[in-house]
């Protein structure tokens, strides 16, 4: 919302600077996002009077002028001009040496210099060089020097003369205060915050009896048009829009067109009421019907665009056809023209969401529609119309008649609310004096009345946002000042126990388990591209393709909700490798979304997963497997690994993770074919675990076991095994051949040399731990006995021998 300082001063005697006012507005809830000085680009330009004009000796179009710019700047400045409209006695803007004027959007600096050998101490200016048009100052668009009024004082700053000595407040208006989307609304707040009287504009007019055939108004869709005020104005006369109004419009960036159009624009800016003027003689059957459009109905708007409508669109129709797209734009067929004799003014309230939906759906918008989208109140419908009619009279451009229509589905009796000073103070937590509350609410037009403990207010017609005593509390505190709020610490509240749930604690624990293994934490968007499915080589019927789709995504790349996390992790690894981060480890814990019946509005299932990525360095499959095993240890999970094929993993270097007989995840090396397609020169390992699936088994409680009386002892065994035997098969025998073997750890695998073809040497460290029942430490002889038994079993079950 842009408000010129000079305009606000029409309604309030403001005796502080624009900067001070900006701070006042900020403190009461109106943040001034930008405060700009209108004459910012113009500097050192003053009113000069041309004393003499002589032709330039070396030019056929330039003239040498002696200009009086007053005592301060010089009484006889020699300035050369090329403008042909210069004359002796002319008062015109004079840009002095070192001054600034504008050249389109650019700033032009003026310095003294010589023009074809003749010294010129500055430049005489046109309106264009000051960046103004006729609406700012009459004659500003003349091709040549700006011919100022004869009473312009010599030496005066030109900005003060042409209306550029002004500030524009760009105010951010919160969504609950549509009443402040206009100059008047802001002025009301200014008056309240400055504790000054508010000078209301003139709403008076005299309705003349008319003999014109009545125009009837029917509102067939009151839910979309709660109030429709119409007024007939006849004998539209040609008239000139006065300079004061043209300037107000110009400050808001609106060009003057004709008095009637200017009045509708002015009322929108001043009162916040969008107005529309129909050429009354074009209204078929003298009827105005406000209704939903019929499916396929067409309208051509003022800007000559044609729209095909649906029954979600509200139209204003005459007896035959749509004549306006309600709240958005009038129809070409009823537009007012220079020849228009009679006008039917409309000042209405249209439902804001309907205006917005129609505007979006048709791609058509206007100042009116954006105003309606914010909300217009029924009270202002009437005020806006009155103001427009007053201006018709004031400008003398028509005769206001007594043909007035007001179809209103809204209760217009002022709303009253009763509460108490105590309640307001209880919510605020401080004691604002009753007299102060009354004074504030009075300044805000709430007409407060105190009766014993109760406080009764009448809510101003333009304050649709007020619906409870907390709203009044807010009105009070924003004017009283938030600096009065003193910090307290829940003095009256109960003590409550806080903290994380067990599940949340486990998530944090998991993150730390991974962190200490060198994994850093990643955060990725919850959505990705359908192309990721192709990249991961998912088959057409892969369950992971069944994803929730966003109806209005930012782009195709961010259009589907993740069903697994590996694609994001792969992208992270790729980005890192491409940026030269040759080796790294990342993890992410996030939800995936598995659709149920989305169309029926059923929320998808959200499952928490963790994804791990390792790339580069000397890492291999077992680094990743180790990380997964570490998770199992930390949460007392019993994981086993089975060979499995995932479309995006190396078929020989991947496995699925089994927990409690269920497959709960997978790990492995990225399929080299994918790596090749991505141009990766490093191996990438990925693992993903469904945390929701193992949530119930995850147990990170720590339980102490009594220490054995005697220390554990270790023996290393180098075994000769068939190539096809797996480590797990041998481990199984090692662990189950002797009850004291608590750990069997593979530490070396060797092939070649003395190892026969088709065999491999596998070296294990066995840990023998005496249990509570063992009465003395194991002697070497006892251990020999255990080893002998183990070797016997290995030989018998697997054909494995000691090397």
């Amino acid at each position: 919302m842009k408000a010129p300082f000079s305009w606000l001063k029409d309604y309030v005697d403001i005796d502080i600077t624009a900067q001070e006012l900006a701070e006042k507005l900020f403190s009461c809830g109106f943040e001034v996002e930008e405060l700009s000085y209108l004459g910012e680009k113009i500097n050192r330009v003053v009113v000069g009077e041309v004393k003499s004009v002589t032709p330039h000796p070396d030019s056929d179009h330039m003239q040498i002028c002696i200009v009086d710019c007053g005592e301060e700047y010089g009484r006889d400045l020699q300035i050369v001009t090329g403008a042909s409209n210069v004359y002796v006695g002319m008062k015109t803007p004079c840009a002095l040496d070192g001054s600034q004027v504008v050249d389109g959007e650019e700033i032009k600096k003026i310095k003294k210099g010589k023009l074809r050998g003749v010294e010129s101490l500055g430049m005489l200016c046109s309106g264009e060089e000051l960046g103004i048009n006729d609406d700012y100052y009459a004659g500003a668009e003349v091709n040549g020097l700006l011919d100022l009024a004869k009473d312009a004082p010599v030496g005066e700053d030109i900005r003060k003369i042409v209306g550029l000595d002004d500030w524009i407040f760009d105010i951010s208006i919160t969504a609950n205060r549509p009443d402040c989307q206009c100059i008047l609304g802001v002025a009301r707040e200014v008056a309240a915050v400055l504790k000054k009287p508010f000078k209301a504009p003139d709403y008076s007019f005299t309705a003349q009896k008319t003999n014109a055939q009545p125009i009837e108004v029917e509102v067939a869709a009151p839910e979309l048009c709660p109030r429709y005020v119409g007024h007939y104005v006849e004998n539209i006369k040609e008239a000139q829009t006065p300079a004061w109004m043209r300037k107000r419009l110009a400050l808001s960036g609106i060009r003057s067109i004709s008095p009637v159009v200017d009045i509708t624009n002015f009322v929108l800016l001043e009162m916040g009421q969008p107005m529309h003027a129909f050429d009354a003689d074009e209204i078929g059957e003298r009827k105005i019907i406000v209704r939903r459009a019929k499916k396929g109905e067409k309208i051509i708007t003022l800007d000559e665009k044609e729209f095909t409508l649906s029954c979600d669109n509200l139209v204003i129709c005459d007896g035959n056809k749509p004549v306006a797209l309600a709240g958005i734009m009038g129809g070409l067929n009823s537009e007012i023209k220079p020849t228009t004799k009679n006008v039917f003014f409309e000042s209405a309230k249209f439902a804001r969401d309907n205006v917005r939906k129609t505007s979006r759906a048709l791609g058509q918008s206007s100042d009116s529609s954006s105003r309606f989208e914010k909300g217009v109140d029924a009270y202002t419908n009437e005020r806006g119309m009155a103001r427009a009619l007053h201006l018709i009279e004031e400008l003398g451009c028509g005769t206001v008649t007594d043909m007035r229509r007001d179809v209103c589905a809204v209760d217009l009796t002022p709303r009253k609310m009763t509460t108490s000073v105590a309640k307001i103070n209880a919510l605020l937590g401080i004691r604002v004096p009753e007299s102060e509350i009354v004074a504030i609410l009075t300044r805000l037009n709430f007409k407060p009345e105190i009766d014993g403990d109760s406080l009764t207010v009448e809510i101003p017609g333009y304050r649709d946002d007020i619906d409870g005593y907390p709203d009044l509390a807010e009105e009070v505190i924003r004017m009283y000042g938030y600096e009065h709020i003193t910090p307290t610490f829940l003095e009256k509240a109960s003590v409550t126990g806080g903290g994380l749930t067990d599940e949340q604690k486990r998530e944090l624990h998991l993150k730390n388990v991974l962190r200490v293994q060198g994994f850093s934490e990643a955060y990725n968007y919850s959505f990705y591209s359908p192309k990721d499915f192709e990249l991961m080589k998912l088959s057409a019927n892969d369950a992971k393709r069944n994803a929730v789709k966003i109806l209005n995504p930012i782009s195709e790349e961010l259009s589907i909700m993740r069903t697994f996390l590996a694609p994001s992790m792969l992208q992270n690894a790729v980005r890192n490798i491409r940026r030269g981060n040759d080796e790294g480890r990342l993890f992410e814990v996030a939800n995936v979304y598995l659709p149920k019946n989305t169309q029926a509005g059923e929320q998808p299932e959200e499952r928490k997963r963790v994804v791990l990525g390792i790339w580069g360095g000397k890492n291999d499959f077992f680094d990743m497997k180790g990380a997964i095993e570490r998770i199992a240890e930390a949460f007392h999970l019993d994981f086993s690994f089975e060979r499995a094929e995932q479309t995006y993993l190396h078929p020989g270097v991947s496995a699925k993770i089994i927990c409690d007989k269920n497959s709960v995840g997978e790990l492995g090396e990225l399929d080299p074919a994918i790596a090749l397609s991505l141009g990766l020169d490093k191996k990438v390992y990925l693992a993903e675990l469904d945390l929701t699936a193992i949530e119930k088994q995850m147990d990170d409680r720590i339980r102490y076991k009594n220490l054995p009386k005697f220390p554990a002892t270790q023996r290393d065994l180098a075994l000769l095994a068939d190539e096809k035997l797996t480590c797990a098969e041998i481990e199984e025998v090692l662990l189950h051949s002797c009850k004291y073997v608590t750990k069997a750890t593979l530490f070396d695998v060797y092939r070649g040399g003395q190892v026969p073809e088709g065999k491999k040497s596998m070296a294990f460290t066995l840990t023998f731990t005496p249990d509570q029942n063992v009465e003395k430490a194991f002697t070497p002889e006892t251990l020999d006995g255990f080893v002998k038994k183990i070797l016997g079993n290995l030989k018998f079950k697997l054909g494995v021998e000691l090397r």
Binding site: I430, Y482, T488, L490, G499, Q504, N512, N552, L586
Partner: protein
């Protein structure tokens, strides 16, 4: 006999003075004891009367030498230590060795810190679904059907009544429906808005706080946020409330904190104002309480919501929100503990 003893004394003492290691000293001692045994075995050749006197001499000799051994041992140990110190001396300017742990993401770090601060004040952590119904995300939060916030411009829709939550406030409703006051919850999580430019990310994180109890006031909100600001930033951080609007609170406030960079004097970070907008808050709107079956004439409450990324960016001096989602290890590793 005496000559032998003197010879052994001389030999042992000379050798001892030259011995500089514990091992050498031990060997010398063994050698001395062997020699002494030899001398003592010659005692049987002495006349009986001479034996006690001789025995006394030998004993005194033995004792004096052993004392010398002990004294020398102390010297030798000291010499050995000095040698060890010298030989084991390292170049302390060589790089230290450490096992490299990873780092938690700054979003997690800030989230954890917030949870720490508020759980100490009795807040329970609640995480609601990220895909929400229209009702929980908007309607129950007093955001009427025609509110601009509901426009397709801002919200990602999955179906007519299903959307990616735009605010963690949705969690408020779920908690209030389930629990009865006193309620103190903290609801962190992912939220989504259809905004993607230099300063906006379509996904970010919020932390929502809600207190509902008897007699809760705006002053309590101010007090709690002041405590938060001091703990999250510095003990001199100040809080400023200013009027604002959110559909689910009334009164609503924007909460500014004094700029941590310049301490409120005005700098680039705070655009010269000395204040930084950090969060939105307010007293819970009566309609919201009613929608959850909480009697607004008995209970009042406040709610606040902040962007975790925003806090992280302020706290760590990160200038681009997009960096947070690139997962560049050079970025992440800077957040190691």
């Amino acid at each position: 006999m005496k000559e032998k003893i003197e010879a052994l004394r001389l030999e042992t003492e000379t050798a001892m003075a030259q011995t500089e290691t514990g091992r050498g000293l031990y060997e010398l001692k063994v050698k001395f004891q062997t020699a002494l045994k030899g001398i003592m075995s010659g005692m049987k050749d002495l006349v009986k009367e001479d034996r006690p006197a001789f025995g006394k001499i030998v004993n005194e000799f033995k004792q004096s030498i052993e004392e010398k051994f002990e004294a020398r041992a102390l010297v030798v140990r000291e010499m050995e230590m000095q040698k060890k110190y010298a030989s084991e001396r390292v170049d302390i300017t060589m790089p230290g060795k450490s096992y490299k742990a990873g780092a938690l993401h700054p979003i997690t770090l800030v989230k954890n810190e917030l949870i720490d601060i508020f759980s100490g004040m009795g807040f329970k952590v609640f995480e609601g679904p990220e895909i929400e119904t229209d009702y929980y995300n908007f309607t129950a939060l007093n955001t009427p059907k025609d509110h601009p916030a509901r426009d397709m411009q801002d919200t990602f829709y999955l179906a007519e009544n299903l959307l990616l939550r735009t605010q963690t406030s949705a969690g408020q409703i779920r908690v209030m429906e389930k629990d009865t006051p006193p309620i103190k919850i903290l609801s962190p999580g992912r939220v989504f808005r259809s905004d993607d430019d230099a300063t906006h990310s379509p996904m970010f994180h919020q932390m929502e706080g809600l207190v509902v109890d008897k007699g809760i006031t705006l002053c309590d909100l101010q007090g709690m946020l002041a405590e938060f600001a001091r703990k999250m930033f510095t003990s001199s951080t100040k809080v400023r409330l200013r009027p604002s609007y959110f559909p689910f609170t009334e009164p609503s406030v924007e909460v500014d904190l004094s700029c941590s960079e310049c301490g409120g004097k005005g700098c680039r970070l705070c655009k010269g104002t000395g204040w930084i907008e950090v969060l939105g808050a307010g007293m819970v709107n009566r309609h919201v309480l009613e929608n959850c079956g909480v009697d607004p004439d008995v209970y009042t409450g406040f709610a606040f919501g902040m962007g975790i990324e925003r806090i992280a960016m302020l706290k760590y001096g990160i200038n681009n929100i997009k960096t947070l989602f690139e997962n560049d290890t050079r970025f992440l590793e800077q957040f190691e503990d």
